[in-house]
Symmetry: C2
Subunit: 102 residues, 2 copies
């Protein structure tokens, strides 16, 4: 199991607008080989932002990396530069491999 | 769905020892009301550490918070101060609420 997370620092007061951007997008992830599950997560609040994370479970790292090289990925991120006013800084990507399970 | 993550910065070369600490612990999570799933995750490497995260899925935040106030939690963390040489700094907790799902 591989978990791909992108961390977003969202300007206070823009949380609902950020969720709406995700809610209204056309996601075709369900059709992608190796995709398991997606969640948008709302995390802790700091003084100047609220942390959100996209949280996508993949069968394995290979499936995730194949997707990042696909046309599907390119289309899904074509508008990623919009809505910049919602963010403090750039999203930060972190990929995780499961090493133990219970 | 609520995800409880603790982020650990592990000294380079101590990764296997850290995983062994988790592998060999007595976990009773499966018996806890509202517990769904646990994974230990290995994340990206930085110059001076490798990021790991414990990643526990709970039915909801209330189930997680009830566990943190239980005897079970206290026993599970009784030895948390050991193995300090594996870490750079303290673990950092982040709790996440799922706001969208696919």
């Amino acid at each position: 199991m591989f978990i791909a997370m992108n961390r977003f620092q969202i300007v206070k007061g823009s949380e609902d607008a950020f969720v709406e951007v995700w809610r209204s997008r056309d996601s075709l992830l369900k059709d992608v080989e190796g995709f398991v599950e997606f969640h948008l997560l709302r995390g802790p609040e700091a003084d100047d932002h609220t942390l959100f994370a996209s949280h996508t479970i993949w069968r394995d790292r290979d499936a995730f990396e194949a997707w990042t090289k696909s046309d599907h990925f390119r289309r899904a991120h074509a508008n990623a530069g919009n809505n910049g006013a919602l963010y403090l800084g750039h999203p930060k990507f972190e990929g995780f491999e499961a090493v133990l399970e219970e």
